[in-house]
Symmetry: C2
């Protein structure tokens, strides 16, 4: 079977699970937005990783479906609350919960999504359920820490590349890692296999985030789905900006400082900043980071026995590396 077809199959299993998962109707102020969020599509990368990781160590996708759904619901909880904090008005082409309803609804809906994530996860049948729930919980803690750093960095002018890497490790990398690790735990993986899956997830997650930073400036606007250079206009501390700040001197540095402090940066400045990113070599070095992380993810997964699931996990790293979406 083609990788794309199999991915689509797995994604649909997650979507089906999520559609059937919520049977409650009342209070409508809570359950209507919850359905809205869970039926909003999305790539479902995390839950697919959980399913594949489980298979890759000898389990079945069925064994891991509850946990996979739990991980996707958890991810949606973070989106709903982050969108409030970030004042984001749209997500996946639709109005965010706090925009379509209000902040109070969005707070409550996020809270309940977190509880529902545990409900799904805890339906898993496994002797390791306590460990699985602990791994999941530490993932939630780190996601919150990551978001905390992200908000702190918005108003700090001394953020380093290492600060940034710590932040994305917690905010993005950790849960991708947890998704793969939990799949491995449910599938009955050995300690060595679990470690390989955890590392795989960690590097895939980081490569994904760094690629996101790159795509903001080099992507095809139509495919990417958001305006190119948005991070620059918003003065977002991306790996590109932070690394370029470290390297740039003279007028380039002054220009980047203006981006950092959001002083008069408009769409017109994007080309200038892109020029600095090219001159300082940060586009190239970030591409290298992505390539390196992808290679590390592949190395990790290659320590597992050869199976169709392992082949899928390898394929995924390439897809993420070459994505233009």
């Amino acid at each position: 079977m083609k990788f794309e077809t199999r991915y689509e199959q797995l994604r649909r299993r997650v979507d089906d699970y999520l559609r059937r998962f919520i049977t409650e109707q009342k209070p409508v102020s809570v359950y209507r937005p919850i359905r809205y969020v869970l039926n909003s599509g999305g790539k479902r990368i995390r839950p697919v990783l959980t399913l594949l990781a489980c298979e890759a160590v000898g389990g079945t996708t069925k064994d891991a479906l509850h946990a996979a759904a739990g991980i996707e619901i958890l991810h949606n909880f973070t989106l709903v609350h982050d969108d409030i904090m970030d004042n984001a008005s749209s997500r996946r082409g639709r109005a965010t919960v706090h925009t379509k309803w209000d902040d109070n609804v969005a707070i409550l809906v996020g809270d309940e999504l977190l509880a529902l994530a545990y409900r799904a996860l805890l339906r898993t049948t496994s002797e390791r359920i306590q460990q699985i729930a602990k791994v999941f919980t530490e993932g939630v803690v780190e996601v919150c820490e990551g978001q905390g750093y992200d908000k702190e960095f918005e108003t700090r002018n001394d953020v380093t590349v290492n600060d940034y890497l710590l932040m994305i490790r917690k905010k993005t990398g950790k849960m991708v890692s947890v998704a793969a690790e939990i799949g491995g735990l449910i599938g009955g993986g050995s300690q060595k296999e679990i470690r390989a899956l955890r590392n795989y997830g960690y590097f895939v997650g980081r490569a994904f985030q760094l690629q996101d930073d790159l795509l903001d400036i080099v992507a095809d606007e139509k495919k990417f789905g958001k305006a190119v250079g948005g991070d620059i206009v918003e003065g977002k501390r991306t790996v590109l900006l932070l690394e370029a700040l470290r390297r740039a001197r003279g007028r380039d540095r002054v220009c980047l400082q203006a981006v950092l402090q959001k002083r008069g940066v408009t769409k017109a400045s994007i080309a200038d900043v892109r020029g600095i990113y090219e001159r300082t070599g940060v586009l190239e070095s970030t591409r290298q980071r992505v390539v390196q992380d992808t290679a590390r993810a592949q190395q990790a997964v290659l320590t597992l026995s050869p199976t169709p699931a392992r082949a899928m996990l390898l394929w995924l790293t390439k897809i993420l590396l070459h994505r233009t979406f």
Copy 2:
């Protein structure tokens, strides 16, 4: 040992646990407010119930300490988020998190508290850990539903007493019930014992909430810690207002409708409304409900074997019934 002394001992064990529980320092924007919340004191009724319930079926308080702390942390998560939604500026005599910091911090702090609640709970050693975590999770779901109803009711004029009882069962009663049930599960209680503890918690929780409604209008202002009649000025749908609305006719009814719709109700109106509550007999009938729920809680707990812990659980119902705080 005197009941008061023993309660104080248990309360302090929970406080000590909570003080030591958080070892992280960064990001400070998250962990400073978390410490602020967890060190804010409070009666710690729920965790004490968990400890006593565990003892009452033959376990030790030590076995249940992780879970007890988890239940208290969960309670604090609900307070932090509810305070945002309710625009509450103070809690336990101190500024609320969203007032002292801001809404974003309070959202994130609440989220992480929920994760930390699971972290504590999942340290419990018990063969029933999966069931315990499921009971806990269903508690969280219902707390969210209860808060959802509470917010919906604020703008509805057709709320019935039964709607109200459903809301407080979910928002308050359920977690008190879960606190006792989880103690019983950890202590190795039989199905019959677990059911008794669950019922005990449910009736204690409801009596507590109804008593709260009563205290708003009949309490000693200094002891109660908030202004008498605050619910009336805010047009809060309490059992008193809803039941009085059902019973009142003529001018009394018009007056209560004004309270419901917050039309020109000031502190001066409190005495009038209290007069209506007396005339319609809702003060008396609510007192009766509290007495009845307390009796039911006692009946439930009396089905357990006689132990010092059972005696404490009985004593607690009387304390809650006669509290003026």
